[in-house]
């Protein structure tokens, strides 16, 4: 077993509830079965214990973290601990007064998701009318003096409008723009046939993003994240399992990533029963893929094993059936053919409608 390194970032998933129904949501498919189990005092303790362990940043996310009426109390606790405090939100439901309150409590950064540069297209992905309010929220964020991050998830339908997305972020005076291609896990995997772009589309978008990054240097940070399906080697998922990120799910599990509790056979302790410190060091689920001991070939003898840590465990499980396999996104994986086949499929136009994120997935609603 590998010794527990120091975590830097706490991802606090305050709830899985969300007014939006995004077709690539990163929450588990069975999110509706998982209840919000942590009370305000539990979350405040989690923040204190995480800080003692070395955490310096907290991302309040979900679901939609604004749905927690105790968000203010948690921001206050985070700032009392001098944590860099980031709210990751859809902007719904939010009124300006609440944002002002969060500003006074010391919230450091607000990240607003925008699904597309155009209203109808954005609302189609979100599965509800949200676009206009998101723009209002983004403007309030800047008016109140917050730094603004705009996050847009990219996929086949909106990649060709990446220039419009960049222009919109500029118009909103965003400090940071995340152009993050969907990663095909959870709801996005369910909708992969309708979302996965082809290589040429990715390449064109990448060059537009690169030009914008250069042009906007020093003013707006532009981040472009390629989908794992279109790389030669996978990125270091979560910077390595149980290494820099500590995720606490709405049901109280201490996880290495957003979906680890959907992997079979792993047990993750609950912060209601044990301290963050104890779980970080000795949870069997965290120990399972920490370090290099678990690695199969070709990872075990690969020079990149300390760079990508074997890639994404969830992707390995969902594509091969084994969470301990080399990430099939890697061109060296014996299962890479699975990704190549999906990529080849992406070259053909889809005949598939979306499955919207919902408590009980209802497929094929043509909107």
């Amino acid at each position: 077993m590998s010794a527990a390194p120091r975590p830097y970032t706490l991802v606090a998933e305050l709830t899985y509830a969300c007014p939006l129904h995004c077709v690539y949501c990163s929450n588990p498919i069975d999110f509706a079965r998982r209840r919000d189990a942590l009370h305000t005092d539990d979350w405040r303790r989690v923040l204190r214990e995480a800080e003692q362990l070395g955490v310096v940043q907290v991302n309040f996310t979900g679901g939609e973290p604004l749905l927690r009426p105790d968000l203010e109390s948690l921001v206050e606790q985070a700032r009392a601990l001098d944590l860099y405090t980031n709210l990751i939100t859809s902007g719904i439901p939010l009124e300006r007064e609440r944002l002002e309150r969060l500003r006074r409590l010391g919230l450091d950064n607000v990240q607003v998701s925008i699904q597309d540069a155009r209203p109808a297209e954005s609302d189609r992905i979100a599965g509800c009318e949200a676009f206009e309010h998101k723009l209002r929220v983004a403007r309030w964020v800047k008016e109140l003096g917050f730094p603004l991050t705009v996050n847009t998830v990219l996929h086949r339908e909106n990649l060709d409008r990446i220039g419009e997305v960049i222009a919109l972020a500029e118009e909103l005076h965003a400090d940071r723009l995340e152009l993050a291609n969907a990663q095909y896990l959870g709801w996005a995997l369910l909708n992969r046939a309708a979302l996965l772009p082809g290589a040429a589309q990715i390449e064109q978008a990448r060059s537009i993003a690169a030009a914008a990054r250069k042009r906007l240097e020093g003013r707006m940070e532009v981040v472009f994240v390629v989908p794992d399906y279109h790389v030669e080697f996978p990125p270091a998922c979560m910077d390595g399992w149980g290494r820099r990120f500590l995720v606490v799910s709405p049901d109280g599990l201490l996880l290495p990533c957003l979906l680890a509790h959907t992997l079979p056979g792993l047990s993750f302790g609950n912060v209601r029963d044990q301290s963050v410190q104890d779980l970080w060091v000795s949870s069997p689920g965290l120990a399972a893929f920490r370090g290099e001991g678990w690695m199969p070939e070709p990872c075990r003898s690969c020079a990149r094993r300390t760079i990508d840590f074997g890639g994404c465990r969830c992707q390995a499980f969902h594509l091969t059936g084994s969470a301990a396999a080399t990430d099939p996104a890697c061109s060296l994986s014996p299962d890479h053919g699975l990704v190549e086949a999906a990529r080849a499929g992406a070259a053909r136009p889809p005949l598939v409608a979306f499955t919207y994120r919902a408590a009980r997935p209802h497929g094929a609603s043509a909107r």
Partner: protein, 93 residues
């Protein structure tokens, strides 16, 4: 090039934080953080939007008296330039 009369300040998104674990300072911003060496931390602590680059260099010369002045000045300017390029520093004239 940063003007000697410019008054650098940390960007709105960036915040300095003392790190108990390492005993040094970190510069935190969305999704990222930089572990600063003592010199970098000394420089950024002076970037308050009031002191000019000249005044910052002058203060640092007192703190790092053993360093030749032109060398220190160049290091400070290079560092400020780099931070500004990364969008972590605002350099108002």
């Amino acid at each position: 090039m940063i003007a000697p009369a410019a008054r650098p300040a940390l960007a709105a998104k960036a915040r300095l934080r003392f790190d108990h674990a390492s005993g040094g300072y970190m510069l935190l911003y969305p999704e990222r953080g930089l572990a600063l060496n003592p010199t970098a931390a000394s420089i950024l602590k002076l970037c308050n939007g009031e002191l000019t680059v000249d005044a910052i260099v002058e203060q640092l010369q007192r703190e790092y008296a053993e360093r030749p002045a032109p060398e220190l000045r160049k290091d400070v300017l290079d560092f400020l330039e780099e931070m500004s390029r990364r969008g972590l520093l605002q350099v108002a004239g």
